[in-house]
């Protein structure tokens, strides 16, 4: 997909450099796959690609939410914590909620657990949105605060421990939680399908809905968007809410993959999500970027670190490589937008 846009703009003003610059995330991914396939015979196999993709799914879902926030000109540092909080909430509900006033332990069906967990994530996201849109707290500070609060609540709920038994019991009718993390449809892991559905919906929303247009406009110039009748506050609250809901979905997928939910899950995941969005060519100043780039960014990070593991390189080196890729990506972004923005 990316290749078609790259060649389309290349045809107008053909140059190899321009082609490489605009399709950079795509070419980086191809290069990563080619190099690791050469280094390890196990890398480029269907089963490995699917395993790597199911790991990418978590970051991918988070980074789509992050993309929406970044397009709005904001940042959401709380997604890693929301992921943990929601995982813990799901864990608590699966283990059974004790209702002391009613004297019962409530066991809910899995679908209800999923719906409630996503609602919790959306609620925390909406809190971010209200802080930013109505109380004018800078996004960095508002979501930094919520990041600590959500993590703290997750730790309080479990006393720092982990919920280990999320399989449910046949007799209580709440089995099936591990379906998300373990099952496959037509050989494709459910988590990858969830990512694909989220990506397609987000892509449609950005390119075809009026909300998408509002989002790009208010991220590009909020004052102009407001005077054109765009409900800029509603857009803000919505993107943070969606980001929170997607963090909850990522939390569910992760808890299901691990069949456990711990309060320290997802630490620093928000940074990986930001990195994926940036590698995908979005501008941190808002208004520029897309789902396709972000997905490529998430796969670049995921496939790179998985490849380094497969060829047996120390995890310390993985950190160095990932960092280098991010810096390189930001460098290229500034080349692209710096040139595009300079017009006399």
């Amino acid at each position: 997909m990316s290749a078609t846009t790259a060649t389309a703009s290349g045809a107008r003003d053909f140059s190899i450099g321009r082609l490489l610059l605009e399709g950079r995330a795509f070419f980086a991914l191809i290069a990563i796959i080619a190099v690791f396939s050469f280094l390890s015979p196990n890398y480029f196999t269907l089963s490995n690609l699917l395993i790597m993709s199911s790991q990418v799914a978590i970051y991918g879902i988070l980074s789509i939410g992050m993309l929406l926030v970044i397009l709005n000109g904001g940042i959401d540092l709380s997604v890693g914590s929301i992921l943990a909080l929601c995982g813990v909430c799901a864990g608590a509900m699966m283990q059974g909620l004790e209702l002391p006033w009613a004297g019962v332990i409530l066991y809910m069906p899995v679908w209800a657990v999923v719906v409630l967990t996503v609602a919790v994530g959306a609620l925390v996201g909406a809190l971010n949105g209200v802080l930013v849109a109505f109380f004018k707290v800078p996004p960095f500070v508002a979501t930094l605060g919520v990041m600590y609060v959500a993590r703290g609540v997750a730790l309080l709920m479990t006393n720092g421990l982990t919920y280990n038994n999320l399989r449910g019991t046949e007799a209580l009718g709440n089995t099936g939680f591990n379906w998300l993390g373990f099952n496959r449809i037509g050989g494709v892991p459910i988590s990858v399908i969830v990512l694909a559905v989220v990506a397609v919906l987000a892509g449609l929303m950005l390119s075809r809905s009026s909300f998408g247009r509002w989002l790009y406009a208010s991220g590009g110039n909020e004052r102009a968007a407001e005077l054109s009748g765009v409900p800029v506050r509603r857009v803000k609250i919505t993107v943070y809410t969606i980001s929170g809901a997607l963090a909850a979905i990522a939390g569910l997928v992760l808890a299901s993959q691990l069949t456990s939910a711990g309060p320290t899950a997802g630490t620093t995941y928000e940074l990986t999500a930001i990195a994926a969005v940036v590698i995908g060519g979005a501008a941190l100043t808002g208004g520029r970027g897309g789902v396709r780039g972000t997905m490529l960014g998430a796969f670049v990070i995921g496939f790179l670190s998985a490849g380094l593991v497969i060829i047996g390189i120390s995890s310390y080196w993985q950190t160095v490589f990932t960092g280098a890729v991010i810096v390189l990506a930001v460098l290229m972004n500034s080349i692209q937008y710096g040139r595009g923005g300079r017009k006399s």
Partner: protein, 514 residues
């Protein structure tokens, strides 16, 4: 052609006085030729004014002379020797300074720190603040501005900020000072001070290059006039040989006319502002109990100086600012409590004053900017209709005559006048009943001005109510049926279209000094 010299005459008659010259300077961006072999002379101790429409190449030429960009071909000659500047700092070291149209001050820093930004005076104990403050004070005295050197720039009025910018250029002892639209934010008295400073500077042998869209004003200060059109020099003459008509003729290449009030039915009251008051952040009223009616098919012009409350009045009607008292009634219905979006959908649209800050989304294309305010009209169910949007964009481009390669072109590729037409086109696409325009002619050239006014006159003929503000008297006496003068938040006078310039200016609190 008779009279003054025309483009065929190259160079200046008194070549020995030339300090800086451009010879056959051309600049291309890809296939776009911004400048096509221009010759340009700057004379020692004199003011040379560069006239031209937006996109004529004025700014490009100034950026080349001040080292900001390099020419594709051609030479820059300083004191008779060819030079080439790698960047603006090299040019500044040789005594060439430029004051850009957009202010480049750090609002959080004091006047003193802004003036010495990047070249702080060193003393034995780090920066010599006392000496910097002394020099700043002296500069401010020279400019006759009572600004304390320690005031943060953000606390100054826009006009005072411009003075600080000028002071900064003066503080480096420039021999050649380029001023790109220095008066656009200044009040009449501040302009007088600036002109006095310019005369003092030229008396000391400093050469000034002056760019302004305010033609009458520029004529009072200039010694030479150079006219650019489409990247080429069309005319050159000393002040004694030219007049306003000559400049305009050479700029647009034809007779210009901002139009006259259209013959339209003036029907029911479309917009009624009743006893409106708007406070600023400190609670002081910027608009005080103002009442004004605009009828369908009528064009009303609000004339006033900077700070008269025009922008606040219009932004309150649009819904950006909240009023503390009074009513805004659109076609018989109170709209004061509605959001901006609801007011737009009822037919009340505002074209804001500052198109870069409030009008355009720079990251979006021309088409996406044009369709931004009417997304609902091409949304079918959940999704926008690409076909309907394309039609809306093409219709808008045609109605407001935007010169662009198409709806997909980046908004930054358009000239100022065409960008302004995009902002107007965006609001016209919402099919308004009342359109308000805050200084619609700010920073656009005469050709584009005339086109904008023609658009408004056409709208009035179809029954649109038009309310626009301006700070140029000549623009009041064009298409407006009625002219109201605002001064300190109140309407101080109201005239019909037969009024004279002098009467309007007297009512605005402006001195009518010769």
């Amino acid at each position: 052609m008779s009279g003054p010299m025309t483009a065929q005459t190259q160079g200046a008659p008194d070549a020995r006085d030339v300090v800086l010259a451009a010879r056959n300077v051309a600049k291309s961006y890809g296939s776009v030729h911004a400048l096509k072999g221009v010759n340009f002379d700057i004379h020692r101790g004199q003011v040379t004014t560069l006239f031209g429409e937006n996109g004529a190449g004025k700014s490009t030429l100034m950026k080349i002379l001040s080292g900001v960009i390099q020419p594709t071909t051609g030479d820059i000659i300083l004191d008779g020797r060819p030079v080439s500047f790698a960047n603006a700092n090299e040019a500044r070291d040789r005594g060439i300074s430029i004051i850009h149209q957009e202010l480049s001050l750090a609002p959080n820093l004091s006047v003193r720190d802004n003036i010495f930004m990047g070249r702080e005076l060193r003393g034995p104990l780090g920066v010599d603040f006392a000496e910097e403050e002394r020099q700043t004070r002296r500069l401010m005295e020279e400019l006759e501005e009572e600004i304390d050197p320690l005031t943060p720039v953000e606390e100054l009025r826009l006009g005072q900020q411009q003075i600080v910018e000028i002071a900064r250029a003066l503080s480096v002892d420039s021999r050649i000072l380029i001023m790109d639209e220095p008066t656009s934010a200044l009040s009449a008295s501040e302009v007088e001070v600036l002109f006095k400073v310019i005369r003092d500077l030229t008396a000391k042998g400093v050469s000034i290059v002056y760019i302004s869209h305010h033609l009458e004003e520029a004529l009072t200060i200039t010694d030479h006039a150079v006219v650019l059109r489409d990247g080429a020099m069309t005319a050159y003459a000393p002040r004694s040989d030219i007049d306003l008509d000559w400049i305009v003729r050479n700029m647009v290449g034809e007779n210009y006319d901002l139009g006259s009030p259209p013959d339209s039915d003036r029907r029911d009251v479309a917009l009624s502002i009743r006893n409106l008051s708007v406070p600023d952040a400190t609670g002081k009223d910027l608009v005080r109990g103002l009442s004004l009616d605009v009828r369908a098919g009528e064009i009303v012009c609000i004339y006033g100086l900077m700070g008269a409350g025009r922008t606040e009045l219009l932004e309150t009607c649009a819904g950006r600012l909240r009023a503390t008292g009074g009513q805004i009634v659109l076609e018989g219905q109170e709209v004061s409590h509605l959001s901006i979006a609801e007011r737009i959908s009822r037919g009340l649209a505002l074209v804001p004053e500052d198109r870069q800050r409030d009008g355009l989304v720079q990251t979006m294309s021309v088409g996406q900017n044009l369709s931004l305010a009417s997304i609902a009209s091409f949304t079918r169910g959940l999704f926008t209709s690409t076909g309907a949007e394309k039609k809306l964009i093409e219709d808008s481009i045609r109605t407001v005559t935007v010169k662009t390669s198409g709806g997909g072109a980046p908004i930054g590729s358009l000239s100022g006048g065409n960008q302004q037409k995009v902002v107007i086109g965006k609001m016209l696409a919402t099919k308004p009943r009342v359109i308000m325009l805050d200084e619609p002619s700010r920073g656009i050239d005469i050709g584009a001005k005339a086109e904008v006014f023609r658009l408004l006159a056409d709208g009035a003929r179809r029954g649109l109510a038009v309310l626009y503000s301006t700070s140029e008297v000549s623009e009041c006496l064009s298409i407006a049926h009625r002219i109201v003068v605002m001064h300190k938040g109140r309407i101080t006078a109201e005239f019909d279209s037969t009024v004279t310039k002098e009467k309007i200016m007297a009512a605005s609190g402006e001195s009518v000094a010769a």
